[in-house]
């Protein structure tokens, strides 16, 4: 090992330019796929979408075989997995301690976190496109199997609602990642927030007339449920519900989390 192929140290560079955000985003996207666990987590979105569509074809009655049934069925696995992708993108820097390298190559945490947020949303939108495509294929296939004409009972506006709803749940995951910065803790918190808490809220609403009236202003899941029903346009009050619960459950904790991320020590 005498010949060391390390090139000569250059004189101090003067033409160094700031790393563009687009490059950080592309690296962050790559980091979501380049481990076995990361790859299969994202692959599981596609796999579960296909399984859900197959389930609809197998078990739904003929008059239920519409596009909205497919889209709704596919939503369940995707809405569970997507936020975990966002959580792990953030917490990995702490739990796997890769932040030591990441935050020294880009010594501005806000840029890394912004790149992670954007790349998570990119993944979410790609997953939505896939969901719609799998749903459409399922709808065509289902119609072919039953010998009926496929029914497209979803408008573009409703599709946009659906995407918005997905991005909001993804951002809840992202927020938990930023706030907690530990993989297991953040995933547990996510399940508490999306499964345990809504159950408690609905029990409260069932037992208390007063609570059932305020529930749309308190329960973020309940407030957002209108985004996923493929039924009708949201009313102004429903949008207000989404804004209020989104501020309390998403924006405020996200701001606290971002402040912690900027100040916390990376060890």
């Amino acid at each position: 090992m005498t010949a060391i192929a390390v090139p000569a140290v250059q004189p101090r560079r003067t033409d160094v330019r700031t790393v563009p955000l687009s490059r950080i985003i592309s690296v962050e996207l790559r980091k979501m796929f380049d481990t076995r666990s990361g790859f299969w987590l994202i692959a599981s979105i596609a796999i579960s979408a296909v399984l859900a569509a197959a389930g609809v074809i197998l078990f739904a009655t003929d008059d239920e075989l519409t596009y909205s049934t497919f889209a709704t069925a596919i939503r369940f696995p995707v809405v569970v997995i997507l936020p975990i992708v966002a959580i792990l993108a953030v917490t990995g820097e702490w739990s796997q301690r890769t932040g030591l390298a990441t935050f020294t190559m880009i010594p501005h945490r806000s840029r890394i976190i912004a790149a992670k947020a954007i790349s998570s949303v990119v993944i979410a939108i790609a997953a939505m496109a896939l969901t719609f495509a799998v749903g459409a294929l399922g709808n065509l296939l289902g119609a072919a199997v039953t010998g009926t004409t496929p029914r497209w009972d979803v408008t573009i506006t409703q599709c946009l609602y659906y995407v918005l709803g997905m991005v909001l749940s993804l951002l809840v995951g992202f927020m938990l990642g930023v706030l907690i910065r530990a993989s297991i803790g953040a995933v547990v918190a996510y399940f508490v927030l999306t499964f345990l808490l809504p159950t408690i809220f609905s029990l409260l609403a069932a037992g208390s007339r007063w609570f059932s009236e305020v529930q749309p202003w308190v329960d973020i899941q309940f407030a957002q449920s209108g985004l996923f029903v493929f039924d009708k346009s949201l009313t102004g009050e429903q949008w207000a519900n989404i804004a209020v619960t989104g501020t309390v459950w998403l924006v405020v904790p996200l701001l606290i989390g971002l402040r912690l991320v900027m100040r916390s020590e990376v060890k």
């Binding site: 090992m1 005498t2 060391i4 192929a5 390390v6 090139p7 000569a8 140290v9 250059q10 004189p11 101090r12 560079r13 160094v16 330019r17 700031t18 790393v19 490059r23 950080i24 592309s26 690296v27 790559r30 980091k31 380049d34 481990t35 076995r36 666990s37 990361g38 990995g92 796997q96 301690r97 890769t98 932040g99 030591l100 390298a101 935050f103 020294t104 190559m105 880009i106 010594p107 501005h108 100040r263 020590e265 990376v266 060890k267």
Partner: protein, 299 residues
């Protein structure tokens, strides 16, 4: 060139780093030496912006690390070789750095060859790497941007003797070409062999710093005599402090000429009189760090 001025880090009432100032010059290897928990890693984390200093500054070529537009091209950093996602391959970790810094793709294979990781090893996941392989990978990642400054925290940890020798040659060559190297270690012999300048730290404070040759020269004198107790008394009478070396000799901070004069005046025949360089840095290291340990943690 790295300049650290008055760096202080407080955790509650504990001073982890206490008014640390030093310079790591271009073309030289600066060894940052201290026992575990002395504040080496905290100082290095502050230098690269991972930890906020309570007060003081650290600059590279006169600029704060956070102000470097693409730090990887100017400062190679290895703080902990194990701080990598166990599921990524060695090659992938270098590829991420290569992309982030905007370097040509060929640089990845070049660096793998430079640190002697075979293509097969590079395709394995880092979780399967030995600590020595991780150190090699970490050094590759630090060097990939061809920076002018290297900041390495305990880079020799986990390397086998051949690996330590390899790293020593690599860093020596790097400094000889004009690079600045700051490396920390609690491995005294490694620092003694590789460093040109030494900054020694204990309990957050710098206890000694300077060129290695000067520091070694300041190691004092070892003297031996048949009538040792008489010699010890004579030296004390001159106001010189002495300590037993443990093998029947005395160690004193005075130089050999003064010790000889004292012995002559006292009429004591010496059997040995030499500079204490044989004791080397290790004695100095233990002496200095134990002295700062006796003071307790500064409040």
């Amino acid at each position: 060139m790295i300049t650290v001025e008055g760096l202080t880090k407080k955790y509650g009432t504990t001073l982890a780093v206490d008014d640390v100032s030093f310079t790591a010059s271009a073309g030289r290897v600066t060894g940052f030496l201290g026992p575990n928990g002395a504040g080496k890693s905290t100082t290095m984390r502050i230098m690269v912006g991972l930890t906020r200093a309570t007060s003081g500054t650290a600059t590279v070529f006169g600029r704060r690390f956070a102000d470097l537009p693409n730090p990887g091209l100017e400062v190679g950093v290895l703080l902990d070789a194990s701080a990598q996602h166990a599921g990524r391959t060695g090659r992938e970790i270098l590829t991420l750095a290569q992309r982030l810094m905007g370097l040509p793709k060929t640089r990845v294979e070049e660096m793998l060859a430079a640190v002697s990781l075979t293509p097969d090893e590079a395709s394995r996941r880092v979780g399967e790497y030995s600590l020595g392989m991780r150190q090699r990978l970490g050094i590759a990642a630090a060097l990939i941007g061809d920076p002018g400054v290297l900041i390495l925290d305990e880079p020799a940890n986990g390397l086998d003797p051949a690996g330590i020798r390899w790293m020593r040659d690599l860093l020596r060559g790097y400094a000889d070409r004009g690079g600045t190297v700051l490396l920390s270690s609690h491995l005294l012999h490694e620092i003694e062999v590789i460093a040109d300048d030494i900054v020694m730290i204990g309990h957050g404070r710098i206890v000694s710093q300077g060129a290695k040759t000067d520091l070694l020269h300041a190691a004092g004198t070892v003297v031996r005599a048949a009538h040792l107790a008489g010699l010890e008394q004579a030296l004390k009478d001159w106001g010189l402090t002495t300590s037993a070396t443990g093998d029947g000799a005395l160690h004193t901070d005075a130089d050999a000429a003064l010790v000889g004069t004292v012995a002559l005046e006292a009429g004591i025949a010496l059997t040995e009189l030499r500079a204490a360089e044989g004791a080397g840095l290790e004695e100095m290291f233990l002496e200095l760090t134990s002295a700062s340990q006796r003071e307790g943690a500064p409040a």
